[in-house]
Symmetry: C2
Subunit: 219 residues, 2 copies
Amino acid sequence: MSAAPSTPTYGEVTNQGASTNIAWHQASVDRAARALQRGHRSAILWFTGLSGSGKSTLANAVNSALFERGLSCYVLDGDNVRHGLCKDLGFSDTAREENIRRIGEVSKLFLDAGVVVLTAFVSPFKADRDKARALVEAGDFIEIHCAADLAVCEERDTKGLYAKARTGEIKEFTGISSPYEAPASPELLVHTGSQNLEESVATVVAYLEIHGIITAPAS
Amino acid sequence: MSAAPSTPTYGEVTNQGASTNIAWHQASVDRAARALQRGHRSAILWFTGLSGSGKSTLANAVNSALFERGLSCYVLDGDNVRHGLCKDLGFSDTAREENIRRIGEVSKLFLDAGVVVLTAFVSPFKADRDKARALVEAGDFIEIHCAADLAVCEERDTKGLYAKARTGEIKEFTGISSPYEAPASPELLVHTGSQNLEESVATVVAYLEIHGIITAPAS
């Protein structure tokens, strides 16, 4: 029977080598411990698609569904990122790249914190999405292409942005004057242009269950 | 008895005005809902102090204590921020300010996600800390001054940084060649230079209980 470890002091902690005391306060709360406690894995659900394709609507609806099951989950979108963390960034190519880089890094922090994080950004460029994917392990990054025809998105024009893009008031608008590079092989392709929201939510939730991120509720 | 709301489609959601359907998927998972589900409020615990004062050690030990109670909590420190979100930033005055700005914004996201977030950065300048404080509501930002004499910190010199600062290998090192602006009225002053780690953890946890962030476990 080994002696109970004494409570470390700051000095002891910082000067000693590998130690159960260090493990006690430094490394014991890792992602695996969080998953065990919360009853689900964390993941990054990266929603990508044209403006108006329904990314944010779907991400929020999935978030609500996960929350109702008691899971730790959070949506990152333009509302809480562009006005805060990325408010110093404009819409030049460099700024867009940096915007997506930061979102990828913040998503990685939430992943590490045990949270299913749902990001809803156009993220039109494959290279930027792939960089975000490369920050984490395989299986942690779930790219969800919200596929809707440009005509449908422009018809919706929920924020009036397409109208401004057509008149040239907004430059380099994705789908109009800047390309959207659709994912070649996303983990999920959701037809948000034609499918009912409830069906889309079910598609995403089923994916998470099938891949062991979350477990189906007991029936 | 009102009719059950129909499942919204993307088009309906985005085109209609105030609606219970929008509320269903957009706003229902707010901070209050998270607090209710998790059984505790969220908060930003902003640890500040000299290098070697024990910020990260204390933050991690408090994090472990909160985790053991089943709370949602997460530590942001140099290890997970400087190598990721802020890896583009150096140590100039401007870069340090931007570093703290981003940490404040990310902390706000975790706060909104219902997580008790513990930040462990020197954050030597009052103006930068006050900007982070100003991002959130009163009571959400708990500044914790980890007070240890410079001599104690330099004696510990856990990362060998003071030695490098003394030889001039590191420029503008807080406490040696750059000022540390101690908080005038922090929410908590913890004597990490002289106090036992266990006592310091108890001090912080008691503060959270007294201020209704968390509840004491049933005895």
